[in-house]
Symmetry: C2
Subunit: 130 residues, 2 copies
């Protein structure tokens, strides 16, 4: 857990952020997380949410996603999975893909690049917007 890392101490705020991200399937923005925490932490600052999100990304507890140009979203599920973004409402959801799927098999020529990770993202119209 967080306490495994030497550099960082425990913080109630950071644990709450992780809990929120672990317990939701949608992929909230920093601001959404901030608003969700305000009840429990009335003095919380948005800057601190960003600071902790960066620490969680750095320690591989969460992933930063990049959808569209507007703002970042965060994901508490670090296992390989894909995302689907609705072109109408902008909602981001998970999409399960087969475990045996390895996109590296489809690379024509890696030209000496060492591939370590991949992300696969889909877009279209979600079930609510059809």
């Amino acid at each position: 857990m967080l306490t495994d890392t030497l550099k960082y101490r425990k913080s109630r705020q950071r644990e709450k952020i992780l809990e929120i991200l672990r317990n939701t399937k949608c992929h909230p923005t920093a601001d959404t997380i901030y608003l969700e925490m305000k009840d429990e932490f009335p003095d919380l600052s948005l800057g601190n949410v960003y600071r902790n999100l960066n620490i969680l990304v750095e320690t591989n507890m969460i992933k930063r996603l990049d959808f569209g140009s507007t703002f970042n979203r965060y994901d508490g599920n670090c296992e390989t999975h894909s995302h689907f973004i609705c072109e109408k409402c902008g909602e981001v959801s998970d999409l399960e893909i087969n475990e045996n799927f390895n996109p590296e098999d489809f690379i024509k020529n890696s030209n000496g690049k060492k591939v370590k990770n991949f992300t696969l993202e889909f877009s279209g119209i979600c079930e609510n917007c059809r």
Copy 2:
């Protein structure tokens, strides 16, 4: 070409942006494009580069890419291909994938979502940083 669209008139600046994006394999940021155009258009403003990039994205002449959290990059190649981002130097390059590759085949359950597009991105260490 651009003149096909009804709404927009021809603009030397916009054509230059398109030319730059068509003639490079790296995926420049708005600011990089702006700097590259400064010689030919000394009065050019960065705001106008952004305006034209948005028009080009809207008319499907180029694609907006989203790597990392810092800023957007643009791509003049609208055919299906993948990108590779180096975790060390941050450079973004193209990666060819097989034509018959269709990631939709690997979706477990689309839950009523209508998938229209996908993007596949790889990361790792590039040939120069190994």
